[in-house]
Amino acid sequence: MSLQLVANVVVLTAIYALVSTGYVLVYRVSRVLNLAHGELMMVGAYLLVATAGMFSGDPLLALLLAAICGLVMGIVVYVVLMRWMTGEAVLAAVLITIALGILLRGLSILIWTTQQFYPAAIFGWHNPPVKVAPGVQISAASLAMVVLTIVVYGGLFIFLQFTRWGVRMRAAGQNPLLAEQRGIRLHGVYAFAWGLSTFTAALAGMLLALDSGVESTMATIGLKAFPAALVGGLDSLLGAAIGSAIVAAAEIAAIQYVNPLLSDVVPFVVLLIVLAIRPWGLFGSREQLDRV
C-alpha cells in the first residue's frame, strides 16, 4: 500500500471514529441505538452553513456557535422526545430514532432545499492541500479532522475516567436502577449523553462540510460509521476507534483494488462478518446480546 493510501485510510478512520463517538455515548449510557445520528450530524453541518452566513468574517465564532447549537440540539431531542421512551422497550426507542431521522431529513430539505452548500467558500477559505509526507497530501480540513478526533477521544477518555460526571455516566450505563437509587438522576445523565453525542456529531459534520460541502445525502456517512461502532462493541470508545480503522481500511482497499462502487456496501459487509463471528464486537460482552 502506498503512503498516500495509508493517509487516506487515516483520514477516513478519523471521520468514522469521530462520528462513532456519538453512537457509543448514547448506547453506553442509555442502551439506545440512535439511528438518527447521521441526520443529526447533517443538521450540525447545516447549522454551520447558517452561522457562517451570519458571521462570515469570523469563522471560529461561527464554528463555536454551531457546535454549541449542536450540543443544545441533543439535549432538546432527549428532553422533548427520547425521555418518554426511557424504560420502554429498546426496540421502540430505536424505531423512534428512525422516525426522527426521517423527520430531520424532511425538515432540512424544507429549510435549506436540496442545494449544495460550501461553508468554506462562505468564509473565503480555499481548503488547501497539506503535504504531510513526501508524496503524500491531504486537504487541510482532513488534517483538522484527524487532529480533532484525537483531541475529542482524549477529552472523552479523561472525562469518563476522572470526572465525577463521567463516573456517574458510566455507572448509569451499567446499572440504571442502582444509579437512581444512589441519587443519580437518570434523565439528567441521559440528556447530557445525548448532548455530547450531537456535539461530536456536529463537529464531524462541520469539518466534513468544510472539506466537501453539505447536502442532504450527507447522512449516509453517519450510517456507514455505525458498523465501525458495532465492530468495537457499541459501548467502547477504544473499540469504536479500532473498528473505524478496520472499516476504513477495508473500504479504501476495496475501492482501490476491486471496485469503486463498493464504497457504500463495504462497511455493511464488515458488519455482517462481525455479526456472524463475534456479534458483541471486540470489546463488548456476551451479556449485551441478551439485554436487547
Binding site: 465525577r164 463516573v167 456517574r168 436502577l177 444509579a179 437512581e180 444512589r182 441519587g183
Partner: protein, 266 residues
C-alpha cells in the same frame, strides 16, 4: 409514644397490573431500631422493600392500594432518587454494585449528592472504619470482588448516601456463616454509630433475629406474625419452619403448622 419513622399501611402491590404480590401489608418501624422482615421466597419481602425504596419499577410493578409514610410523608410510587434524597436507601439483593467500576469509583458515585463536603468526608472515614478491608480493595473492579466483599461495598455505598432508613435485602444470601456473622455485627455498629434505622429482609430468620429488635413474618403477601425479636425467637413455628433453612431442611408453610381460616388467593 414516639412516632414510627416508617409506617406502612395496608400496602397492596401488583405486578404487570395483574399478578398481586402484596395483599395488604402493614408494618411500623420505630426510629433507631432494627426491624426484621422474615419469610420464604415469594412471601413478598423483597417486593415490600422495593415498594418502600421506589425500586419497584424494575418488574413493572405498582403500589395499587395502601400507603407508605416516611417521617410523616407519603412516598409510595415515587422515583428511587427522590426517596434516596429523603434518606431512604436500599441495598438490593442482586446487582448491588457497579461491576465495571472500581471500589473507589463505586464509593464516589454514592457520595455524590446530598451531603456537603465535610459531611461526605466524615462519612467516608466512617465507612472505612466499619469496613477496613475496603480501603485495600479500592483499585479493584467491583465485579471481581467476593460475595462478602461485595456486600461490604454495597453497605458502604449505602451508608455514603447518608441514610436515615437503611433497607437491606437479603444480607446473608450466598454467604458463608462466618462472613454473615461478621456482617451482622458491623450492621449493629453502623446502627449504633450513625443512629440510623434499619429494615432488614432475611430468609434466614436465625441471623436476622440475633440482630433485630422487632420482626414481621410475611407469607404469600401478608403479615402473619409480628413481635419483639426475643418473643419471635421462642415461637415454635418460627423455629420449625425457618431456622432450619441454613441446613437445607424442607420448608414448611406456617399455615400448615397452625390451621387458620382459608383466605382467598389474590
Amino acid at each position: 409514644m414516639t412516632e414510627p419513622l416508617l409506617a406502612v399501611d395496608d400496602l397492596q402491590v401488583a405486578y404487570h397490573r395483574v399478578a398481586v404480590a402484596l395483599h395488604g401489608v402493614s408494618l411500623r418501624v420505630m426510629p433507631q431500631t432494627i426491624v426484621a422482615l422474615l419469610g420464604n421466597n415469594g412471601a413478598g419481602k423483597t417486593t415490600t422493600l422495593r415498594a418502600i425504596s421506589g425500586f419497584i419499577g424494575l418488574d413493572d410493578a405498582r403500589v395499587t392500594a395502601g400507603s407508605i409514610r416516611f417521617a410523616g410523608q407519603r412516598i409510595e410510587n415515587r422515583p428511587p432518587h427522590a426517596n434516596t434524597a429523603r434518606g431512604v436507601v436500599l441495598v438490593p439483593e442482586r446487582d448491588k454494585v457497579f461491576p465495571n467500576l472500581t471500589v473507589a469509583e463505586n464509593l464516589t458515585v454514592a457520595a455524590s449528592s446530598r451531603a456537603r463536603a465535610a459531611e461526605r468526608r466524615n462519612l467516608e472515614a466512617l465507612v472505612f472504619q466499619f469496613f477496613p478491608a475496603l480501603a485495600d480493595l479500592r483499585p479493584r473492579l467491583a465485579g471481581l470482588l467476593s460475595g462478602g466483599e461485595r456486600q461490604m461495598l454495597a453497605l458502604g455505598s449505602a451508608v455514603l448516601c447518608n441514610p436515615e432508613l437503611l433497607l437491606v435485602d437479603e444480607l446473608s444470601l450466598g454467604l458463608a456463616p462466618v462472613v454473615v456473622e461478621d456482617l451482622t455485627r458491623r450492621l449493629s455498629s453502623i446502627r449504633r454509630e450513625l443512629s440510623i434505622t434499619i429494615l432488614l429482609v432475611e430468609q434466614n430468620a436465625g441471623v436476622a433475629l440475633t440482630v433485630a429488635d422487632y420482626g414481621y413474618l410475611l407469607e404469600n403477601g401478608r403479615v402473619v406474625l409480628e413481635g419483639d425479636a426475643s418473643q419471635l425467637r421462642g415461637r415454635r413455628e418460627i423455629q420449625e419452619a425457618y431456622l432450619g433453612q441454613v441446613s437445607g431442611e424442607e420448608r414448611r408453610s406456617y399455615r400448615a403448622l397452625r390451621p387458620a381460616p382459608e383466605r382467598p388467593h389474590g
